[in-house]
Symmetry: C2
Amino acid sequence: MKPEATPQGIIAGSIPLFAGHPSRDLLPIDELRRIMSAGWAGRRVGRFLNYGDEQGDSQLIDFLVERFNRSEMLGISRDNLMIIGGSTGGLGMITQHLTRPGDVVLVDAPSYRDALHIFRDYRLEICSAPIDDEGLVISDLARKLRQLAAAGKAPRFYYVAPNFQNPSGITMSRERRLAVIDLSREFGFAIVEDDVYNDIRFGGALPPSFYHLAGGEHVLRLGSFSKTLAPGLRIGWLVAPADWIARFVDSGMLRMGGGANPFTAAVVADYCRSGAWEGHVEWLRGQYRRRRDVALAALDASMPSGLHWTRPEGGYFIWLRLPPSVHVDDLEGRAQARNIYFASGKGFYVNPEAGAHHLRLSFSYVPQAELQAGIEILGGLIARMTA
Amino acid sequence: MKPEATPQGIIAGSIPLFAGHPSRDLLPIDELRRIMSAGWAGRRVGRFLNYGDEQGDSQLIDFLVERFNRSEMLGISRDNLMIIGGSTGGLGMITQHLTRPGDVVLVDAPSYRDALHIFRDYRLEICSAPIDDEGLVISDLARKLRQLAAAGKAPRFYYVAPNFQNPSGITMSRERRLAVIDLSREFGFAIVEDDVYNDIRFGGALPPSFYHLAGGEHVLRLGSFSKTLAPGLRIGWLVAPADWIARFVDSGMLRMGGGANPFTAAVVADYCRSGAWEGHVEWLRGQYRRRRDVALAALDASMPSGLHWTRPEGGYFIWLRLPPSVHVDDLEGRAQARNIYFASGKGFYVNPEAGAHHLRLSFSYVPQAELQAGIEILGGLIARMTA
């Protein structure tokens, strides 16, 4: 069905509005090459080609601790941070250590498709509550928690992407975060905060992180260089209470293999310490904001009435709600016939049919002209389906 | 207790006979730098800095499939091989997908310490059977299997390092491998073959792999570039039946993060395709063989009677059995007082006390003069303890 696709599943000649990764021109290729060449000359090369420390590259840990304490006044120490193999590596590690098959985890509806896939692989019971424009609807979560408690079930953690959520682009408000923290204490679950889009923000300050608001208690906060540097380096970080970091660092997986990729972690450390990262992030914000603007303008211009879409202040994604008369499967077939691929809403729900009238558009990958053209064609298709 | 240690836990000024990793002079640093510089110039850079294919770097898969079909007549296709984050990444993935908490896995006694740690993290019941100079003692395994069956327990898999086992250096004979395969069919367990030392062989041909002898059925074979190229790149491979590879490739972890580190996998692919790897492996064999010879000569010259040690034909490790009067804890304390660190036998058994009179020496890391000096000092210590 999708022949000659790239590793990201992109078919030559198509408009891949589903693609949730940076385009090549957003990767700092030349700067990374320069950093890597310089790194070989130093003393560290013999170390970063060998097994690394279980907690991860020491210089990168120091850099990130300093950054969070400066930019967010997070008040963490080295004992609160470890380097991981992208947020994926961290989420797998957390799920392995914190759950057993049959345990309950809480997610948003919609939530990140691949995270749901991981939870299913671990044979967890996934319980979801809906979000609105301010994030998780607290009364719905509270009702779910009481139902679970009545059934003798205690959720292990709530998985949430608080900022520019994948797929909705929605950021949870400070008030909602505080209410979730209250519920987490009442019902005894942890919060896994997947914050990989934090730095791709177009507007003002974000609400404080769950980690910050909860004073670091029972919160595990994931971050990544995949969105702000290069996904192929597979490097991210986990901020968590010191006793949890210690537990992860002492795991068999890290004892056997050492910490997250020592080679690429050292490259990332050198890149960050050179001062290049902050400037690159600033530049990226402008690039992604322009693409977001193009996408929203195209939606405003081409979508018929009866649709709703989010207007994200950061991240990669816009979330569309189709009219009740348009099923996403039907639209998907017509769009693919025009060589346009989007992410069906169905993948982002525990019960796929809940997403039967939703779709996710990504503005991170497709060039601006194609982004506009693709959305206009989609708008025309939907207009004909609702005429 | 171990201040100022490197990421590999090595204290400055000590003789780290425990260190099971290559020394810096065995890493092809200059050649890797050359390969990496050349790689940046090519078309692939934009791809290997982005998310990769779930199965791993395509060129590296092709290279390895061709290599195994040529050198071992393994008869595999692309569908039988995937790239993994070192053998560790593969063992974690296999354990996650094939077991649930409380399941039984089978191991040798002794077995690889960090693998036992992973199995404990997954809350498995670890059942071991002893090895002798030809590997696993079949009658003991058969007895264990009958006992388990009588208790209603079916092991999920047998974890084995068939060649130059860590910690013993022992290679399992062809006959024993065939007998294990017979038992695996009778009792319905898989075989996880951790073959990371295969290429570090000093003598003639090895027995065929479990994968080969079983015709690829119910065997998962792990390999790695950590021993023959550089551990810090964190790249290995898994050879397995096509339906199992497909299942792993379709996992949430790989869907979310993409395949094993695309950047370092591309570097390894370029290195292998340049033809440099085979020559480097050949050179490494000579280097490690010389170190093994130094270690064995020092043992022959300095150890008092009453000790037994293995004479490995490859790999990194020699396994010593102490006289009954010498407890390894006692020797360890005296050795550390002389700045000599070895791996206590206790970590390699499900029941640590079974290793109370064993220790593992590694000849992969320490320079030859220190290897000899360290073993001579150990010999002197043991002689005084048995006098």
